[in-house]
C-alpha cells in the first residue's frame, strides 16, 4: 500500500445477521467471529486491503442496525459514523450496504434510508447461493436501475464470493445518489409510509419472490419454541454438552498430563540440581503445565457452543428464555450478553451496549460475572476430577452432573440477584426482545474450525503468557527466603508466599481453605485459571524428592476433605476473581461505584456460600 495516498474509507452497513461480518472477513482477511444471532458486532472493526493501484482501502464493519433511527448505543454509532459525527472516525467515502438476499425487504428498507444520506453507495446482495437454492428471484440489473446505485451479488462465506464487489469498488464504478431533504430529519409516520411505498415499488420492479419455506422448518420450530417441550430440549442439550466435556476429554487430558509428568521427570533428571532446575520443574512445568491439561475440555465446550450458534439454535434459546428473564426483571436483550459471558464476562459486559434502558443494562452488567466463564473450567475440572468419583448415575456420568449443577448454580444465582435488584427499581419499562430467527443450517465446518482455533490460541497465549509469567514470580515467592539451617518443615513454609498464606489462612479458615489455597487465590485474582497453576506450583514446592513433578489431582484427592473442595467450588461460583472484569465494568459504567459494589456483593456471596457449604458438607460427611 502506498503510504503517500490515503486509503479509500469504506463502511459496511446492514441489518444484523445479513453476513456483513463474513463479508468484512472476506474483504480484509481478518478473523472475527461470525455468529448467527443479531447484535454480535458491538466493537469497532476495521481492516485493510491492498488494491492494484496502490491506494488501498480501509474497511469499517459497522454494528448491525435495522434503521438509522437508533434505539441502542451500537445503532447510534452506525448512524453517527455515516453522518461523520464521530470525532475520531471521518465519514466514509463509500458505503457498502449489505442485504440478505433471502430476506430482501428488511435489508432494502435500511438501504433506502442509507441512500437518502447522499453518500456514494454500492448494494451487496449477500447469500445469493442460499437465495437461489430457496427459489428467491431478484433481478439485480432492474434493482440497480431503480435504486440508482450499483447492485452486486455476493457470497461472503465462499472463496471468491466478493470478487464482483471488489471489482466494482476498485473500478470506481460508483457515484453519490444525491441526498434527500428528509435524510437527517426525525422520521414520522408519514415518512415511514413513504419509505414503505418506495420499498414495495422496488420489490415489484426487481421481480422479488419470497423464499420457499421448508415445512420441516415450521415443525422443528414448533417443537423447539414450545414453552414446555422447548425448555426440556434446551436443558437436554446443555446436559449432553456438560457430560461430553468430561467423558470425551478424559483420554486427551490423560495424554497431556502424562506428557507433562514425563517432561518434568526428564528435566529434573538431565539438569544439575539447583534453582534453575527447580524453577523449570516446579514453576514452569508444575504450574503452567497443570492448566494446559484442561485444553481438551475447553475445545469440547466451545465445539458445542459454536455448533449451536452456527446451526441457528441459539436465537431460539433466547426467544424461549425471554419470558423467564422478563419475570426476574431482565430485558430480553440481556440474553446475548449473558450467553457471551459463558465464554468470558468481558465481551459479555461490552455487549450490554445493545440494551437501551440504563437500569436494564446495569442489572445485566452486575450479574454477568455470575455466568460460568471458560476460565472457571480448569478450576472446576480439577476439583471435580479430584473429589467426585467417576462413576455412573443411571445413564449419566456423576462428574458431568456436578459440572452441570455448577453451571446451573451460576445461572440461577444470576436470576436471583436480578430479581433482588428489580425490587429496588421503580418505574420499570419493559424492553421487548426483537429477534430475527435465522434459518436452520448445518454448522459450517470451516467456521467451526476457525472458531475453535481462535479459542485454542487465546487459551495457549494465556498459558504461555500471563500464567507462565505469574508462575515464575510465584515460584520465586515460594522459594525465597530459603529455610534456616536445621529447619524441619517444607521449604515453602519459610518463604514469602508461605508467610502470606499463613496470614491469609486466618481469614479463610472458617470456610475450610488451607494455606495452599489461600496463596493460590492471590495470583488467581489476575485470572481465575491462574489459581490452578498456582496450586500446582505451591504443592510442587511443598513436596520433596521424587514427588516434585507429580500430578496435582491425586495430591488434592489425598490431602483435601470433600468439604474443603465443595467450599472452594462454591467460592468460584460467586467470587469476582478477575480484575480485568472489574476494570471493564468501571470503563462501561464510567464510575468506580459499580465495580466496587459488584466486588463487594460477589465476595460477600462467595464467602457466605462457601461457609454454608463447608459446614453442611462437613456435618454430613
Amino acid at each position: 500500500m502506498d503510504a503517500t495516498v490515503t486509503p479509500l474509507r469504506i463502511a459496511l452497513v446492514g441489518v444484523p445477521n445479513c453476513g456483513k461480518t463474513a463479508l468484512f472477513n472476506r474483504l480484509t482477511g481478518s478473523r472475527q467471529k461470525v455468529a448467527n444471532y443479531p447484535g454480535v458486532t458491538v466493537e469497532r472493526r476495521e481492516g485493510e486491503r491492498a488494491t492494484p493501484d496502490g491506494r488501498g482501502m480501509r474497511v469499517l464493519d459497522l454494528p448491525g442496525t435495522y434503521s438509522l433511527n437508533p434505539t441502542t448505543l451500537d445503532e447510534a454509532i452506525t448512524r453517527d459514523v455515516l453522518l461523520g459525527r464521530l470525532a475520531d472516525t471521518p465519514a466514509p467515502q463509500l458505503v457498502v450496504c449489505v442485504v440478505d438476499s433471502v430476506h430482501l425487504p428488511i435489508g432494502l428498507r435500511l438501504a433506502l434510508e442509507v441512500k437518502r444520506l447522499g453518500l456514494p453507495m454500492v448494494l451487496a446482495l449477500n447469500r445469493m447461493d442460499v437465495a437461489r437454492r430457496r427459489n428467491v428471484h431478484i433481478d439485480a440489473a432492474r434493482l440497480a436501475a431503480e435504486l440508482g446505485v450499483p447492485v452486486v451479488p455476493t457470497i461472503a462465506v465462499k472463496r471468491g464470493g466478493a470478487d464482483a464487489l471488489v471489482g466494482v469498488v476498485e473500478g470506481g464504478r460508483w457515484a453519490a445518489p444525491g441526498a434527500s431533504a428528509t435524510a437527517l430529519q426525525e422520521h414520522d409516520a408519514e415518512d415511514a409510509e413513504r419509505v414503505q411505498r418506495e420499498l414495495r415499488g422496488l420489490l415489484v420492479a426487481s421481480g422479488y419472490s419470497p423464499p420457499r419455506v421448508s415445512p420441516w422448518f415450521g415443525r422443528i420450530d414448533a417443537l423447539l419454541l414450545h414453552p414446555v417441550a422447548g425448555l426440556a430440549i434446551l436443558l437436554a442439550v446443555l446436559f449432553v454438552m456438560f457430560q461430553a466435556v468430561f467423558s470425551w476429554a478424559e483420554a486427551p487430558m490423560n495424554w497431556i498430563e502424562a506428557a507433562m509428568n514425563s517432561l518434568g521427570g526428564f528435566t529434573a533428571a538431565h539438569m544439575p540440581a539447583g534453582p534453575l532446575s527447580s524453577l523449570l520443574v516446579n514453576g514452569v512445568i508444575g504450574g503452567a503445565g497443570s492448566v494446559l491439561v484442561f485444553l481438551p475440555q475447553i475445545i469440547i465446550l466451545f465445539f458445542f457452543i459454536l455448533a449451536l450458534e452456527d446451526s441457528g439454535y441459539l436465537p431460539r434459546a433466547a426467544y424461549l428464555l425471554d419470558r423467564l428473564m422478563g419475570s426476574v426483571g431482565l430485558s430480553g436483550r440481556a440474553f446475548i450478553p449473558l450467553l457471551s459471558s459463558h465464554a468470558c464476562a468481558i465481551p459479555g459486559i461490552m455487549a450490554t451496549r445493545t440494551i437501551p434502558n440504563w437500569r436494564d443494562r446495569l442489572t445485566t452488567i452486575m450479574i454477568a460475572p455470575l455466568m460460568t466463564c471458560s476460565a472457571r473450567l480448569p478450576v472446576y475440572g480439577l476439583l471435580i476430577a479430584a473429589l467426585v468419583p467417576a462413576r455412573a448415575v443411571g445413564p449419566f456420568n456423576l462428574q458431568g452432573l456436578v459440572l452441570f449443577t455448577l453451571y446451573a448454580a451460576g445461572i440461577v444465582s444470576a436470576l436471583l440477584v436480578a430479581f433482588v435488584m428489580k425490587q429496588f427499581t421503580r418505574h420499570r419499562q419493559y424492553s421487548p426482545l426483537m429477534l430475527e430467527l435465522p434459518d436452520f443450517q448445518w454448522p459450517n465446518a470451516s467456521n467451526l474450525l476457525l472458531g475453535l482455533w481462535e479459542r485454542v490460541k487465546i487459551f495457549l497465549s494465556r498459558v504461555g503468557g500471563i500464567i507462565l509469567a505469574l508462575m515464575v514470580v510465584l515460584w520465586f515467592l515460594s522459594s525465597y527466603p530459603q529455610p534456616p539451617p536445621g529447619a524441619t518443615g517444607p521449604a515453602i513454609q519459610y518463604s514469602l508466599a508461605g508467610r502470606l498464606g499463613a496470614a491469609l489462612e486466618y481469614v479463610f479458615a472458617p470456610i475450610g481453605f488451607n494455606w495452599q489455597i489461600a496463596i493460590a487465590l492471590v495470583p488467581g485474582l489476575a485470572a481465575r485459571e491462574v489459581a490452578v497453576a498456582a496450586l500446582g506450583t505451591v504443592y510442587a514446592m511443598s513436596a520433596a524428592g521424587d514427588d516434585l513433578s507429580a500430578a496435582l489431582e491425586p495430591v488434592i484427592a489425598s490431602s483435601w476433605s470433600l468439604a474443603t473442595g465443595a467450599s472452594l467450588l462454591a467460592w468460584y461460583v460467586f467470587a469476582p476473581q478477575c480484575l480485568s472484569t472489574l476494570a471493564v465494568v468501571k470503563r462501561e459504567t464510567n464510575s468506580w461505584r459499580y465495580p466496587l459494589i459488584m466486588a463487594g456483593y460477589l465476595f460477600a456471596l462467595a464467602y457466605l456460600a462457601s461457609f454454608i457449604i463447608f459446614r453442611v458438607v462437613r456435618a454430613w460427611a
Binding site: G274, V473, A527, S580
Partner: protein, 86 residues
C-alpha cells in the same frame, strides 16, 4: 562457567524472574495506562533519530493496537493484519 555453577544458575534465575515480573506488571496494567506508557516512549524515541526505524516498525503498530484493545483479557479485540490479495 556452565549450568553446574550455582552462581550462574542464580544469575539466570534472577534474569528470568525479573523478566516475568516486568511482563506480569505490563500485562496487568490498565489498558489506558499502558497506552500512556507507550505514548511516552514514542515521545522519547522521537528525539532520538537512531530509533526512528524501531519507532516506525515496532512502536507505532503497538500504539495503534493498544489504542484499539480494551483489556487484553480475552481475544475479543484481537489485532487484524491487512489482507493482500494474490
Amino acid at each position: 562457567m556452565g549450568l553446574d555453577s550455582l552462581v550462574f544458575q542464580d544469575f539466570l534465575v534472577a534474569l528470568i524472574v525479573l523478566a516475568a515480573l516486568g511482563f506480569s506488571v505490563w500485562k496487568l496494567m490498565p489498558a489506558r495506562r499502558r497506552l500512556r506508557v507507550l505514548l511516552a516512549f514514542d515521545g522519547w524515541s522521537a528525539r532520538h533519530p537512531s530509533l526512528a526505524r524501531w519507532r516506525e516498525r515496532s512502536l507505532k503498530p503497538r500504539i495503534a493496537r493498544a489504542a484499539g484493545v480494551g483489556c487484553d483479557g480475552c481475544g475479543a479485540n484481537d489485532v487484524r493484519r491487512p489482507h493482500r490479495p494474490r
